[in-house]
């Protein structure tokens, strides 16, 4: 794509989240702090029976979401305690990935979605016309439309707080520092160091997610240390920016158009000779 993130960053550096799920206690403070700061409305009073998760997933009205996964598997270093059965309870706080190649941004026809000076992707509700193109474009299913206003809404990484030199509300409140905020390059190094620690402690199933700039979205602005396959947490294993093929599609369209034009011309020429 023609978009050059580094150019957009201006003087400041790209910032992001590193969510270390190995120390998440599933308290959901991130969900609440996010809603308090951003005035996100509550998301309904439905008991789901999905372990302790009653907010189900990211949506226009839930910008941080904690997944709870109960598994009959041992947790690396953890000694088996539940009778003769191995068991672990995974918790992970999900959030908008603020992708390097953000499809929502690519498809937004109004300029409501834009790339900020911090490298994050933000919806501007005064510009959004509610077309909803961004909703299916997101490979993570993050962005949604608010029922009341009909406008798109998602995590802004607390754009206003970043402007004031403050960290996002979720990262600030996180009791165990499972959600860390900072310079993305530094976070990437920190994530790799942490992964080594967790591996050394015996949790060999741990892995990083979103840290690789060569992945289908060019790496994300929100990385995760997961303790199992991404699918287990409801994350796509190999996300691809849905607009990845747009240039080649346009090229093919161009070639096809040229071919068609040539055909028409040829037909006309051939037909004219008759």
């Amino acid at each position: 794509m023609a978009f050059d993130l580094e150019e957009q960053l201006d003087q400041s550096r790209r910032v992001g989240f590193f969510t270390d799920t190995s120390i998440c206690i599933g308290c959901k403070a991130c969900e609440v702090a996010c809603k308090e700061w951003n005035h996100v409305p509550d998301d309904g009073l439905d008991f789901t029976g999905w372990s302790y998760d009653n907010t189900v997933g990211l949506s226009a009205d839930t910008w941080r979401h904690v997944a709870f996964v109960e598994q009959r598997k041992p947790l690396g270093h953890q000694e088996s305690g539940v009778g003769d059965m191995d068991f672990r309870w995974l918790m992970a706080s999900d959030v908008c990935k603020h992708c390097t190649h953000a499809a929502c941004l690519d498809v937004c026809p109004t300029g409501s979605l834009f790339r900020t000076e911090f490298g994050t992707v933000v919806v501007q509700e005064d510009i959004c016309n509610g077309c909803g193109y961004c909703v299916p474009a997101c490979p993570f299913g993050v962005i949604g439309k608010r029922e009341e206003s009909g406008l798109a809404a998602k995590c802004t990484m607390c754009y206003d707080r970043l402007g004031a030199g403050e960290e996002p509300a979720c990262a600030k409140t996180c009791p165990t520092d499972s959600i860390q905020f900072g310079d993305l390059d530094e976070l990437r190094e920190r994530a790799e160091r942490r992964l080594d620690q967790v591996h050394a402690a015996g949790t060999t199933s741990a892995r990083l997610y979103g840290h690789d700039p060569n992945d289908g979205v060019g790496g994300t602005g929100a990385m995760f240390l997961l303790l199992d396959e991404p699918e287990v947490y409801g994350l796509p294993p190999d996300p691809v920016v849905t607009t990845r093929d747009l240039p080649s599609m346009w090229r093919h369209v161009g070639v096809a158009a040229l071919a068609l034009l040539a055909g028409v011309a040829a037909t006309a020429w051939y037909g004219g000779r008759k």
Partner: protein, 1075 residues
């Protein structure tokens, strides 16, 4: 040309694709964080649990616009849990009640009422009820009180508010003053207090980082105290082993290294077996144990233990269901306890028999003098260590399997981790909460842990100790400045009615003569001076006679019975919701339905305010609104951002929160309510010559007020709590208190919080600018010490046990104790000091007596006094249990408090016929997303949506056995009531294998009730009133029940279902009542 036009910006700037700055709208450009545009930032403290997270309150245009963590706090480091993070919504949500409501007797609905009229009406009712029910004497002894008025609440309030509640109500002659501390941690005060000398946690949260092994049992730390849990994670990151022993696999277990599933209510057997393991394998910290505990002390010859008497101790009288504790004493000395049943030996020590009390324990004939005999080789067959060894000999790993359902290999892992991480170089810390306290022998759970930590040498040392996690912002404060019937401020016991009792008799009877409690005359005299000022003189006994007298147990559960009997006519609920949060919730409502008047002060219309209109008994047809004569006043309360005051956190730390904005509408602080109620009552009583009114009219009650609402000055109340000398100068510590009437002090352990006239609780030097002790952040009692008994962090000779575990040590050059923390010891008393034989008071403690509040200066492995159900923790089954006690013939705690009442039926247990009707163990607990009885979470949308409905947790095996369907409904039935809940089938609720059977447990969060946004039946509909005899705490952590698929019946069919179960089980008035 207007460059604000995006297309132009795109074409002329660097953002050619128009996805960056070119797309920025004017609104986006103008966005500013409201934290940066606030008019002011007010320093505050979170109002939920007792971790005491600091908050920054951002105010703009006199409205709170944001609340978030204060990074300066050394405890919370700027973080908040979901509840703390929701405190903006809690305090500013449009749903919060701001107007007074009034329900006349028999009324069908609320009526509006103006605040002044309401206050005047309430004052009239207090005066009238007091007159009608005044009791000058009972059984010939002066009681000078009213049993017609009771109050409940205080743990969510400020210390200053609790102080005024206690002061005014006591002056009015009200003795039934109680708060959540009774229901949550009263057994902590007994357990820790008798073992170590003070009833508070021995350490502070940040010190967890220095622990080598953190054993969490009886607590769901990560869920109930999430921000405090960061220090467990710090310890883990430094290599500590984290163990969670709990019936359920919780969010705490998920982060632990080892989860040990255990049968609810069997912890004494588990801990006793570790004690046995430590003793039998000689793994105790010998030098610590010999010098710092009473292991070497020799007991009397006539003492017999549970080992000899099949679960009883010597001195048991089945008729009175009580022990004569005389035979539990030391040979050669009678030691009065620093906590627990302080009045036990009044009869013998003070002269005259102790009359009129239901819990008279008898006494000894030995006066308080002499030195106990000791054998420092620990070989004497009657020395405490040998008695301990014999007592716990039968607590074997096999027994742990049979009683607790814990496999042997798991038990041994716990023993290994604990003992490997204790000693001079390493320390282990215990963390518990109400999973231990809320049992019919709850105090003994805490005692068991205390014994173990003393044996391992972990008390008073960095990374060691016992962390009692408390769950209300100031529940420690509401114990310290007690809105509790049996205590005066600073743990001075409330006097019982005795014939011709004067101050000197009381002090002789209840004050130890050695250790710091020997100064009780100074503490009590100063309190009386604070309350009655000039009217309190030496020649009138400092008005000791104006204190109303106790004649037995007047706990909140006794109050409920008294309501049903018609004795209690008026009731204050000050931030408490017993219709959901107290045991036998139905009985709580039936009690309130029998009142003449009820005052509810809260943020929202909680169940305790609306039961007459829409309570479960209205639905079932047991009560009709029109027939209920209770007059109900609902007064909206101010929240923490709307008032000044101090909270005392779980580690005795007083933190001041500053008022940010004025309360709206009729909302007022409880300081305002109690001050003005007292003022109005005093105005109405002015000129009265009735001697009963003298304590009210002479009470010091002239606090300065300010603002439009005439809010009293909380700082002036704090200054009185701190105390002053004869010239009115603030005192700087309790060492300055005198027994000659020249000092006044509202709470001696808080003396120093206003030293130099400075509010020390408001100190906020950032944690990053201090060491981990952070001594300049707020102020901790006593004397700003953070680790209690820290003299024990040094060897007997005063040098640290190890470099790694250095905390406080003797500086021989300077001739004083020094170190990182404030030494919990007389600064100049050298390790070599030994008292003269006739030494008394503090001088009687030697240089190697770290437990300075104890009469003998030692940690009590064996409690010769103070614990009424035994000097050593012994496993008894819960009141209602499907298991027969495998350890002794004695099934239940023989001295537990049980109440025979048709609405409080107990169930058959163990091998008793009918026990199989209630075959499963139920345990109750908190969730991160909610707060106690729900008044501060179920009405808050951001919290309600996270856990919107009552549910039960069951294992797949139980679900299969009973046909329960995940996500569907189940009905849970006890002999008290039946409730419905959504079903969560989960592996987190393991079924246990014990004694050849599979035992299933059912988990029930206790937060829910029918009001608010997050709803459901209350778990406390199922629980019974059966109490620990020491602390009167209810047993709600382990009971038995049946579970069946489907919703519960509606209407009269509900009580019918409960009755049919009772009949099937053969339940009658005598079931479970035996001693």
């Amino acid at each position: 040309m207007d460059l604000r036009w995006p297309l132009l910006r795109q074409l002329t700037g660097g953002d050619r694709t128009g996805r960056g700055p070119a797309a920025k709208s004017a609104r986006t450009e103008a966005l500013r964080a409201r934290t940066s545009t606030a008019d002011r930032v007010v320093k505050s403290v979170c109002p939920y649990c007792a971790v005491g997270c600091a908050q920054n309150v951002y105010v703009r245009d006199e409205r709170v616009v944001q609340i978030e963590g204060d990074p300066d706090s050394p405890i919370s480091r700027g973080r908040l849990c979901p509840k703390g993070a929701a405190s903006l919504q809690l305090t500013t949500d449009a749903g919060r009640r701001q107007e007074v409501l009034y329900r006349p007797p028999g009324g069908a609905d609320w009526q509006p009422l103006d605040l002044d009229t309401a206050m005047d009406m309430i004052a009239d009712r207090v005066i009238a009820t007091r007159r009608e029910t005044w009791e000058q004497e009972r059984d010939g002894m002066r009681t000078a009180r009213t049993m017609g008025i009771a109050s409940l609440g205080g743990a969510t309030l400020d210390n200053e508010e609790n102080y005024l509640i206690k002061k005014m109500l006591t002056a009015l002659g009200v003795v039934q003053i109680e708060n959540q501390a009774r229901v949550c941690h009263s057994s902590t005060v007994v357990g820790l207090g008798t073992s170590f000398g003070r009833g508070g946690a021995t350490t502070f949260l940040q010190d967890l980082q220095h622990s080598d092994c953190v054993l969490i049992q009886g607590s769901n730390f990560a869920e109930a105290h999430p921000v405090g849990f960061q220090w467990v994670m710090e310890a883990k990151a430094r290599g500590a082993v984290v163990i969670h022993v709990d019936p359920r696999f919780t969010r705490t277990s998920a982060l632990a290294d080892l989860h040990v599933p255990i049968r609810a209510g069997s912890d004494v057997a588990f801990l006793g077996a570790i004690v046995n393991h430590v003793l039998e394998n000689e793994l105790y910290f010998r030098e610590y144990v010999v010098n710092y505990t009473n292991a070497a002390t020799i007991l009397r010859e006539d003492y017999r233990g549970a080992e000899d008497l099949d679960g009883l101790f010597s001195g048991f009288d089945p008729g009175s269901r009580a022990y004569d504790v005389g035979s539990w004493q030391y040979e050669g000395m009678t030691a009065a306890p620093a906590s627990g049943a302080r009045d036990q030996q009044y009869g013998q020590r003070g002269g005259g028999a102790p009359p009129g009390r239901t819990e008279v324990q008898g006494g000894t004939g030995v006066p308080l003098e002499g030195r106990p005999e000791r054998d420092e080789t620990l070989r004497h067959p009657r020395c405490v260590l040998q008695v301990l060894r014999r007592h716990y000999a039968r607590y074997t790993p096999e027994m742990v399997e049979r009683v607790c359902g814990v496999p042997r290999h798991l038990f041994e892992e716990v023993c290994r981790h604990l003992t490997e991480n204790s000693g001079p170089e390493r320390t282990a810390e215990f963390v518990y909460a109400v999973g231990w306290t809320q049992h019919s022998d709850g105090s003994q759970f805490i005692r068991a842990a205390s014994i173990l930590q003393l044996l391992l040498g972990n008390i008073g040392r960095p990374g060691g100790g016992i962390q009692a996690l408390r769950g209300h912002a100031s529940i420690q404060g509401s114990s310290d400045i007690p809105t509790l019937f049996n205590l005066l401020p600073g743990y001075i016991p409330m006097p019982y009615a005795h014939e011709h009792e004067r101050l000197c008799d009381f002090l002789r009877g209840d004050a130890p003569q050695q250790g710091f409690w020997a100064n009780m005359p100074a503490y009590l005299t100063s309190l009386l001076k604070a309350w009655w000022g000039e009217a309190a003189r030496e020649d009138n006994d400092y008005r000791f006679g104006w204190l109303p007298r106790l004649t037995g147990s007047h706990s909140t559960y006794d109050t409920v019975i008294a309501q049903l009997e018609g004795t209690v006519k008026g009731y204050f609920l000050l931030g408490e919701n017993p219709a959901v949060g107290s045991a036998n919730a139905r009985m709580q409502r039936l009690g309130m339905a029998n009142l003449e008047w009820l005052v509810v002060r809260d943020f929202n219309l909680i169940e305790s305010a609306t039961w007459w209109q829409d309570g479960p008994e209205i639905e079932s047809g047991e009560l009709r609104t029109a027939d209920i004569g209770t007059e109900v006043f609902f007064l909206p309360a101010a929240c923490h951002t709307e008032k000044n005051g101090s909270f005392t956190n779980t580690n005795r730390l007083l933190q001041w929160h500053h008022q940010a904005v004025e309360p709206q509408g009729d909302a007022r602080s409880d300081l305002w309510f109690m001050y003005h109620l007292g003022r109005i009552i005093r105005e109405k009583l002015a000129g009265s010559q009735d001697p009963a009114d003298a304590p009210v009219l002479n009470l010091t009650w002239d606090y300065p007020v300010h603002g439009e609402t005439a809010e009293p000055s909380a700082e002036a109340v704090l200054a009185e709590i701190n105390g002053w000398d004869a010239q009115g100068r603030p005192l700087s510590g309790y060492g300055e208190l005198k027994d000659d009437g020249s000092t006044a002090c509202g709470c001696w352990i808080y003396c120093g919080v206003y030293a130099d006239g400075v509010n020390q609780a408001a100190r906020r030097k950032p944690g990053t600018e201090q060491d981990w002790i952070a001594a300049e952040w707020a102020w901790a009692w006593p004397a700003n010490r953070r680790v209690l008994y820290n003299r024990a962090s040094a060897r007997p000779d005063g040098s640290p046990w190890s470099e790694r575990k250095r905390l406080v040590w003797w500086d021989a050059g300077a001739g004083e104790w020094t170190g990182h923390d404030v030494p919990d010891f007389e600064a100049g008393k050298s390790p070599g000091y030994r008292p003269a034989p006739d030494a008394a008071g503090v001088d009687a403690l030697s240089g190697i007596d770290p437990f300075i509040m104890q009469a003998d200066g030692k940690g009590w492995l064996f409690a010769p006094a103070g614990v009424v159900d035994g000097p050593l923790p012994t496993h008894y089954e819960p009141q209602d249990s499907p298991v027969a006690n495998p350890l002794y013939g004695q099934q239940r705690n023989p001295v537990r408090k049980v109440y025979e009442h048709a609405d409080n039926r107990y169930q058959p247990s163990g091998n008793e016929p009918g026990a199989s009707v209630y075959p499963y163990v139920v345990t109750t607990y908190r969730l991160t997303e909610h707060f106690t009885a729900g008044g501060m979470s179920r009405f808050t949308p951001y919290l309600a949506e996270l856990q919107p409905e009552m549910f039960c947790e069951v294992s797949p095996a139980l679900a299969a056995e009973r046909g329960l369907v995940h996500g569907d409904w189940a009905t849970i039935v006890t002999a008290r009531n039946a409730i419905e809940a959504r079903v969560l089938v989960t592996d987190r609720m393991p079924s246990l294998h014990l004694d050849g059977r599979v035992l299933h447990q059912i988990g029930l969060p206790f937060h829910f009730g029918p009001n608010g946004l997050a709803k459901g039946d209350a778990a406390n509909e199922l629980s019974a009133i059966s109490l620990d005899p020491n602390s009167h705490i209810q047993e709600v952590k382990a009971l038995s029940a049946d579970i069946r698929p489907g919703r519960r019946p509606r209407g009269p069919a509900l009580p019918e279902l409960v009755r049919s179960y009772q009949q099937r089980a053969g339940v009658d008035a005598s079931t479970g009542m035996e001693a």
